[in-house]
Symmetry: C2
Subunit: 594 residues, 2 copies
Amino acid sequence: MTYRAPIHDMLLALNHGAGLQAALKAGHYGDFDGDIASAVLEEAGRFATDVLAPLNRIGDENGIQLKDGGVTTAPGWPDAYQRWIAAGWNGVSGPEAFGGQGLPMAINAACTEIWSASNIAFGLCPLLTLSAIEALDAHGSGELKNIYLEKLVTGEWTGTMQLTEPQAGSDVGALRSRAERAPDGSYRVFGTKIFITYGDHDMTDNIVHFVLARLPDAPPGTKGISLFLIPKFLVNADGSLGARNDIFASGVEHKLGMHASPTCTMTMGDKGGAIGYLIGEENRGMLCMFTMMNQARLGVGIEGVGIADRAYQQALAYAQDRKQGRAPGSKSAGMDPIIVHPDVKRMLMQMRSMTAAARTICYATAVALDVAARSTDPTVRTAAAARGALLTPIAKAFSTDIGNEVTSLGVQVHGGMGFIEETGAAQHFRDARITAIYEGTNGIQSIDLVTRKLGANGGASVWALLEELAGIVSHVEASNDPAFGTTGVKLRDALGSLERSSKWLLERLASAPTEALAGATPYLRLFGSTLGGCMLAGEALAAKDITDGGGDPARYVTLARFFAENVAVQAGSLERTVIDSAESVISADAVLLA
Amino acid sequence: MTYRAPIHDMLLALNHGAGLQAALKAGHYGDFDGDIASAVLEEAGRFATDVLAPLNRIGDENGIQLKDGGVTTAPGWPDAYQRWIAAGWNGVSGPEAFGGQGLPMAINAACTEIWSASNIAFGLCPLLTLSAIEALDAHGSGELKNIYLEKLVTGEWTGTMQLTEPQAGSDVGALRSRAERAPDGSYRVFGTKIFITYGDHDMTDNIVHFVLARLPDAPPGTKGISLFLIPKFLVNADGSLGARNDIFASGVEHKLGMHASPTCTMTMGDKGGAIGYLIGEENRGMLCMFTMMNQARLGVGIEGVGIADRAYQQALAYAQDRKQGRAPGSKSAGMDPIIVHPDVKRMLMQMRSMTAAARTICYATAVALDVAARSTDPTVRTAAAARGALLTPIAKAFSTDIGNEVTSLGVQVHGGMGFIEETGAAQHFRDARITAIYEGTNGIQSIDLVTRKLGANGGASVWALLEELAGIVSHVEASNDPAFGTTGVKLRDALGSLERSSKWLLERLASAPTEALAGATPYLRLFGSTLGGCMLAGEALAAKDITDGGGDPARYVTLARFFAENVAVQAGSLERTVIDSAESVISADAVLLA
């Protein structure tokens, strides 16, 4: 079962649910021509189907090998990576001055979904390079940019992000890797990092490591962290590769999933110290990390969407093919495909609608980040930046929770075959699991949403968003289309729950912050479900308005309705959980430590 | 991290939540002495901790090997199985006439939780033997019982259940294995079965296969299926083992989890036909299967409870040990264990409370089945049988869904370490996944609940149960204990949702059955959440009443409150889904087949 990019769904989500068309019309994208989206996605879909998807299972089965400090990837992977570079996919949103195509993040977001769906372990490598590009572009010196940026943008070299140490995971400030100033202005870095994705591999001839470390005189905690660029091979003045630097993969993890993506322990300093170059200012490394964070978190959210869609496509094909039992009321002698059973339809609709909601939330986040970067109007930029910041933790956590739920449903649709590895459904289930953990666990995303995003401006970004969403719901109600069923009332109720919960949390943030923290996870779910429900309804309305026959309104109205009546409908219960359950969380020690 | 049976929780659930004490007092258990439960569970817990738990990871890592038609289990497994037999654990609830201890199912249910928690792949073997015992005891001839029953009860030989064929999974009636009558009254069986758990292994010197097959003149579908006993080795008149029978493991599956439990393809008839003996009557094999079904489904539900508790214990220990960040408001310099974070507390409480709710539902099912079998009053027996039949699909599906959710939370609590196999959290997550699928997928359980159990007697068993649960809620409200928070109102609302949904489904079963089928899965979740919430509240009330200091009411009140305010609170949304979403499911083809 291969993967086909759902171009029609993606374009509807991008243009209408996520607001790309509106932003284009308002001039926020400058001279970018929105019409090319379709062609780019078609082409990306072809590359994914032809080159990446066939390697997904091979990667899982073969995994990677570490030998003598060097990692070998699965058969066919280095070749596929070379084709990836040659086709220009690494530079879709990279700066044009350094060989990128300079396309908006929104386009790259859709492409990232395609890479993640076809081969999530492969797509993870360029996702990290993208973060490295962003840090270097924003904070690096001109000299460092001249040497490294184009190679990273084209993908000729890949990038790694090295934060985690055994005692410093979610708590980055606890890291101990140390950097010493060298007389020539460079640094010597010593220490051990763990969980370093693509820390070593054989797909390119150099790797550019971005490493957080601490200077000897640095203050404690996150205020004493600096960011260093450490190439695997030093680069000579003429651009050729020089000596091997003192940074090596000393171990690889045996993981639940993502077998093809090497997760390395990196050791620096066994041979006198890894030669590193400062990015930005000393002790301001966290600032550089924050630059990358929005995009990286959005990227992981999109991984959730991609793996969910892959699982859905596979489950749908299986349900159309596998025959067991008969349709309700059928008198025929033979068996029917299992897709006739209402419970199987429910599972597939759950998969499809949750994936669609998460997709639009992620794309909308990318549009907001684009507008924040591209609009010429500072007021628009500021509002878009706040919108992007608000949506980012939702895009990350809601989409990856959905990635886990949808891949689990994918196993379930397959019945007993879902538990057998050769079917492939189990791989998606295993691969998806990490997305809710890395780049900030989903619990941390929820806390970020409540404390930094909701709390930041007294809820202003939330109220602005709620007003927009209420406008969509009014249109649904005004449409008087019976095919929407109870969508209007479900979404209006959900908006009420979201508003009341937001106000309650804001009040508690001031008066009893622990109570606000206790409700963070159900609040994020409530937010994502309500937002996704309204956005899908908006897409369905747009599909009805598209008069060239390409809108396919029946499909999108039913999809929006299903989500509203089965997922967004949980808002009322989630509101009660946010508001009523803090005490049961706070008094948990009576149970847990008894 | 080893496993310790939570004896205190288990006894409270068994005696009070599940109603064992009340049934004992009413005389429904005859002369059974309820006081021995504690001693049995303590002893079972010791055996599990000492013998079974240490082999769990070894089994996962080593898996099993098939060579020349014979399966080798993981190192240490055959020895542990011999200790299992010697300690008498196989016969806890087996008939006393054949070497069993004749203890109630309720006691065996608690033991099964302990086996599943300590080593789910090991515990699965005796679980299947138990089904075989039940079929043979209920339907086998005296001669077959004399030869095979005691060996199965003691565990000297194990049993398999062979239903599935490639084209016949959920739809058992589609099976094609064929049986021919032999002149001596035995049969020759030919065919291929798949997904046969412990179809072959090296832990005992014989295996007794229970195989469904079709006679040449059998009617089509489930009405033409017969059940045969097919020993791996024929048994001589003196009880010694004779010739190898013509049934062989021809393949083993490579699975997501349960690596230590061989899942075999079984081939019969390559050497003239497997010699089989009829159980019950020709063409009445499905009747024999139904005998086993309640107990087997309950057993799988208990697997969900066990694996959930194992994941919880491991996550709790990790959260107490792992230091990251600081408690909200803390000014200390050092890091705190992550259990201080409200979001981590929430995850652990979610794990603990859902596990506890599922446990009590499973135990209550066992008590109902016990009373149905043991009471001297036919009216009591009939009502208990209906109760047991109603609870069985909930025990199976709700508990295994919870097993999946809790093991996933267990991975999440571990953060990045959860994705690393050596941590062990991922194994529980992988192992749990099959429990929602085998012994009837959870979708099939939901359909059984709605069509056969709710629909069977016009809802009478449901109304009787609701009345009982309303009594518990009244006691919670009357207690006026502020520690219950909003438990009373949450549970009363949930009961209302369950009652209205039940009535709506009953009406639709008659008028529009497809709409009832569309709501089956959310209905089962609504039922389980409401039932579990009321039962946990009942346990908390009982803990308050226990005056010897062993009740620990604060712990159980907080636990019940957490469940009511965070899980049972979903009832309102689930009711709306059951009642409002049928059309969005039924019209799904507009989306799925577009």
